[in-house]
C-alpha cells in the first residue's frame, strides 16, 4: 500500500502543466474565440509531439502505455488550464477503445487526428466537426463512421469552447466494427473513463477557480484593505479548497484501481466529488471577483461554464448518484473495505 505519486508521475504532470501554462493562457483562449477556431494548431502539435494523445495506448501502436493515474494527472492539468482541444477525451476514452478496435486509426489518432465519440448516454457528440471519423452507437453495435458520411448540426453550449453537434447518420454494415452483447463492455468502459477523466479535469477547474479568486482577493482593496483579509472571503475560499482536498484522493484512488463494481462506484464518487468541488469553487470565485466575476473580460466565467458542461457529461449527476447508491445499498461496507471488499476477503483467506 503506497498512496503516493511516483516521481515519474509527478514529472509528467509538471511537464504537461508547463506546456499548457505557456500555450494556454488567457490571451491564447481569447484569440481562439475571436477566430472561432476549433483548435490552436500550434498548441495541438506541441501536445501531439509530447505524445499525449497516446499516453494510454499500447507501445505497439506508438503509445506510452501509461495508466489511468497518469491520464488523470494530465486531465487535471487540462482542466486547470481550460484546454479547449479534446485531449482528455481522445487520450482517455477514444484511444483505449480504438486500440482494441482499429489499430490503424489508433495510430493516426496518436498522431493528432481526432476521432469523435458519441456515447449512447449523451444526445450530442463533441468535436465532431474537426474529426476524421466518429465512433457511434446503433443499438448494441459500434460503428466507425467517416466524417463525410454524417451531417452535423451545431448545438451551441454555454461553454464557448465546447463544440457539440447532433449527428445525423445512417448505420450500415460497412461502418459496423463491433456488435453483439460483448460490445456493451466497450461502451461501459468508455463511460467509466469519460467520467473518471472528466472528474479529474473538473477537479483542475476547481483548483484554478480557487487560485484565481485567492490571487484577486489579495490584490483587490475595499474598506482600506485587501478583501482577502476578510474572514468571509477567507472562509468561502477555504471551504472550496477543502472540497478539492477531499475530492483529489478519490479521483486518484479511482484511477489507480482496477475495474470492478467497487471501483465503478468510486469513479462515480470521484466525478460527483470533483463536480461538487468545482461547483462550490467556481461560484465562490464569481462571488469574490464581484462584478468582474460575471463580466466577459475576466476568465472566471470560462471556469464556471466548463464546470457546468463537464458536470453533466459522461453520465449526469443523477446517474452517478444512482450508481453510488446501488453500490452502497448492496455491497459489504466497513472500514476494512476501503480498497474493495471481495479482494480483501480472498487475500485474508489465502493468508489464513
Amino acid at each position: 500500500m503506497d498512496f503516493r505519486l511516483t516521481e515519474e508521475q509527478e514529472m509528467l504532470a509538471e511537464t504537461v502543466e508547463a506546456l499548457l501554462r505557456e500555450s494556454c493562457g488567457s490571451a491564447d483562449l481569447r484569440r481562439m474565440l475571436d477566430e472561432s477556431a476549433a483548435r490552436d494548431t500550434q498548441r495541438w502539435e506541441a501536445i501531439v509531439a509530447m505524445g499525449l494523445p497516446g499516453v494510454m495506448a499500447p507501445e505497439s501502436l506508438g503509445g506510452s502505455a501509461l495508466g489511468a493515474t497518469e491520464m488523470a494527472l494530465i486531465a487535471t492539468a487540462c482542466g486547470y488550464w481550460l484546454l479547449p482541444e479534446p485531449l482528455v477525451e481522445q487520450a482517455g476514452v477514444v484511444l483505449p477503445m480504438l486500440a482494441e478496435l482499429d489499430a490503424a486509426l489508433a495510430t493516426r489518432a496518436i498522431a493528432g487526428e481526432i476521432v469523435a465519440i458519441g456515447h449512447p448516454t449523451h444526445p450530442f457528440v463533441a468535436d465532431a466537426d474537426s474529426a476524421v471519423a466518429l465512433l457511434l452507437a446503433d443499438g448494441e453495435a459500434i460503428h466507425l463512421v467517416p466524417r463525410d458520411a454524417v451531417t452535423l448540426v451545431r448545438q451551441p453550449s454555454f461553454d464557448p469552447f465546447r463544440r457539440l453537434f447532433r449527428v445525423d447518420w445512417t448505420p450500415s454494415a460497412a461502418t459496423r466494427i463491433g456488435h453483439g452483447s460483448a460490445v456493451q463492455v466497450f461502451w461501459d468502459k468508455a463511460l467509466d473513463r469519460g467520467a473518471l477523466f472528466g472528474g479529474a479535469q473538473v477537479l483542475g477547474v476547481a483548483q484554478r477557480a480557487v487560485d484565481m479568486a485567492a490571487a484577486y482577493a489579495k490584490e483587490r482593496q475595499q474598506f482600506g484593505k485587501s478583501i482577502g483579509g476578510f474572514q468571509a472571503v477567507k472562509h468561502l475560499l477555504a471551504n472550496a479548497q477543502i472540497k478539492i482536498e477531499f475530492a483529489r484522493p478519490v479521483v486518484l484512488a479511482a484511477a489507480a484501481s482496477d475495474a470492478s463494481e467497487h471501483n465503478r462506484a468510486r469513479i462515480s464518487h470521484a466525478r460527483l466529488a470533483a463536480a461538487a468541488a468545482a461547483d462550490i469553487a467556481t461560484h465562490a470565485a464569481v462571488q469574490v471577483h464581484g462584478a468582474m466575476g460575471f463580466s466577459w473580460e475576466v476568465d472566471v466565467h470560462f471556469l464556471l461554464k466548463r464546470a457546468t458542461a463537464l458536470s453533466q457529461a459522461w453520465g449526469t449527476a443523477a446517474f452517478h448518484r444512482q450508481r453510488v447508491a446501488a453500490h452502497v445499498l448492496s455491497a459489504k461496507l466497513g472500514p476494512d473495505c476501503t480498497f474493495g471488499a471481495a479482494g480483501q476477503r480472498e487475500m485474508l483467506h489465502e493468508v489464513a
Binding site: 448540426v153 463580466s295 461554464k305 457529461a313
Partner: protein
C-alpha cells in the same frame, strides 16, 4: 391581520389583468441590452404602460402614477409577471431613483424628472460603482467641483446597467478633498452631456449589459443635485433608499420562476434524481416565504412604519433563492443544461434557464454584496460589534 383581498383590491387585480391581457405583446421583445432596437421596443412598451396609467402605480397622479398603496403595487406586479410582460427597461429610474426623488426632490425636480420617467421619455441608468468602489461604496472618487450654479463632474463609473442606451444616469460624487461618507452628493446627469464617454461591458454571456461611464469635466447645474450638498450618503441610505430594498425584486418574479421549476420537475420527474425533488419544493417554499414577508413589510410601511435591516435580509434571501432555484433547474436539465437558446435541439418550451442562471449569479453581488448585508444584519439586528 386580515389576509383576504378587499373587493377594491380584487377589482384592481381584475382591471390589471384585463388591461395586460389586451396589451402585453404576444411575441417577446428583443432584449433591451443587446441592440438599440430592443431598447427602443422596450421604451415603446414603457410608453404603452404609461398611456394605460400603469407605469408606476404607487406614484402620485400628478407625476404619472395612480397614487396607490403598496399592496396594490404587489398585486400589479403579480399580474405583470403572471402575464409574462416585458422586463422594465426603466427599472433604475422607476424603482430606484423614483422613490428617492419623491422623498428628497424639490417640486421643480419632481416636475422635471418624474413625468418623463413615467412616460418612458427618459430612461435611466444607475452609476453607483467605480473601479475602486464596489461593496465599499464610500470609496467613490469621482468629484463634483462647484462652480457657481454648476458642478463640474469628473471620474469613472463602472457596472452601470442600461447606460449603453439610456438617456440619464445618477450617481454619487464627492467634493474635492472630502473623504469616505462625507462630502458626497447624489447628482443626476444626462448621458448626452459633453465630456461623457460610455463604453459597453460584456456580461459573461457576451451581452453588453453594463457600461463604464467616463466623465471628463462634465458641467451640470446645481439643480441636478438630489438632496443637500454633501448629504448624498444619507440620501442613498435613507428610508426612500431602503424602499428600494422592497422594490428591487418583486416576489412575483420568483413565484413565476418557482412555478416554472415545478413544471420542469414534473416533466422530468421520472428520470430526475429523487434528491432534486427536495430542492424543487424548497425553491417553491422560499418563493412563497419571500412573498409573505414582503406582504408583511408592505402592510407595515402602509401603516406608517419604517423599513429597517430587512432590506438586508430580503437581499440575501431572494438572491440565494434565485441562485439555488436556477442551479436546481440546471441539475434537472442534466446534459441539456449547457445548451443555449440558440441550440436547434433545445426543447423550445423549456424557458431560458441558462439566462436566468447567469442573471441570478449577479444577485449575491450587486446592490451591496451579501457579505456586506450579513455584516449589517449582525450589527443592526443582533447588535454585534463592528469588529
Amino acid at each position: 391581520m386580515d389576509l383576504r383581498y378587499t373587493p377594491v383590491e380584487q377589482a384592481f387585480r381584475a382591471e390589471v389583468r384585463d388591461w395586460l391581457d389586451s396589451h402585453v405583446p404576444r411575441a417577446p421583445l428583443p432584449d433591451f441590452d443587446s441592440t438599440s432596437d430592443g431598447f427602443e421596443a422596450h421604451r415603446e412598451w414603457e410608453r404603452t404602460l404609461h398611456k394605460g396609467g400603469w407605469s408606476m402605480v404607487t406614484w402620485p397622479q400628478a407625476y404619472g402614477g395612480r397614487g396607490l398603496d403598496l399592496i396594490r403595487w404587489l398585486i400589479f406586479e403579480e399580474e405583470y409577471y403572471r402575464a409574462g410582460a416585458p422586463l422594465r427597461v426603466n427599472q433604475n429610474g422607476i424603482f430606484l431613483l423614483g422613490p428617492t426623488l419623491i422623498e428628497y426632490g424639490t417640486s421643480e425636480q419632481k416636475a422635471r424628472f418624474l413625468p418623463a420617467m413615467a412616460a418612458g421619455d427618459e430612461i435611466w441608468a444607475q452609476a453607483w460603482s467605480e473601479p475602486t468602489a464596489g461593496s465599499d461604496l464610500a470609496g467613490v472618487r469621482a468629484t463634483a467641483t462647484r462652480e457657481g450654479d454648476d458642478y463640474i463632474l469628473s471620474g469613472h463609473k463602472i457596472w452601470s446597467s442600461r447606460a449603453v442606451h439610456a438617456d440619464w444616469a445618477f450617481g454619487l460624487f464627492r467634493a474635492p478633498g472630502s473623504e469616505r461618507h462625507k462630502g458626497l452628493s447624489l447628482i443626476l446627469f444626462s448621458l448626452d452631456a459633453p465630456g461623457i464617454t460610455v463604453q459597453p461591458i460584456k456580461r459573461m454571456d457576451g451581452k453588453p449589459v453594463f457600461a463604464e461611464i467616463f466623465l471628463d469635466d462634465v458641467r451640470v447645474p446645481v439643480a441636478n443635485r438630489l438632496g443637500g450638498e454633501g448629504e448624498g450618503w444619507s440620501v442613498c441610505m435613507s428610508t426612500a433608499g431602503f424602499e428600494r430594498g422592497l422594490m428591487l425584486r418583486s416576489p412575483a418574479r420568483f413565484q413565476v420562476a418557482a412555478a416554472n421549476l415545478v413544471d420542469l420537475y414534473r416533466s422530468r420527474a421520472n428520470q430526475a434524481d429523487p434528491a432534486l425533488a427536495a430542492s424543487v419544493m424548497q425553491a417553491w417554499m422560499d418563493a412563497d416565504a419571500y412573498a409573505l414577508s414582503i406582504y408583511a413589510t408592505a402592510s407595515r410601511l402602509m401603516a406608517g412604519g419604517a423599513i429597517g435591516p430587512e432590506t438586508s435580509t430580503n437581499k440575501i434571501f431572494w438572491s440565494e433563492l434565485d441562485l439555488d432555484l436556477h442551479r436546481t433547474a440546471l441539475a434537472l436539465l442534466g446534459a441539456e443544461a449547457e445548451l443555449t437558446t440558440d441550440a436547434p435541439d433545445r426543447a423550445a418550451n423549456l424557458g431560458d434557464w441558462l439566462d436566468g442562471y447567469v442573471f441570478s449569479l449577479a444577485g449575491p453581488i450587486y446592490a451591496g454584496a451579501n457579505e456586506i448585508q450579513r455584516n449589517i444584519i449582525a450589527e443592526r439586528m443582533l447588535a454585534l460589534p463592528r469588529g
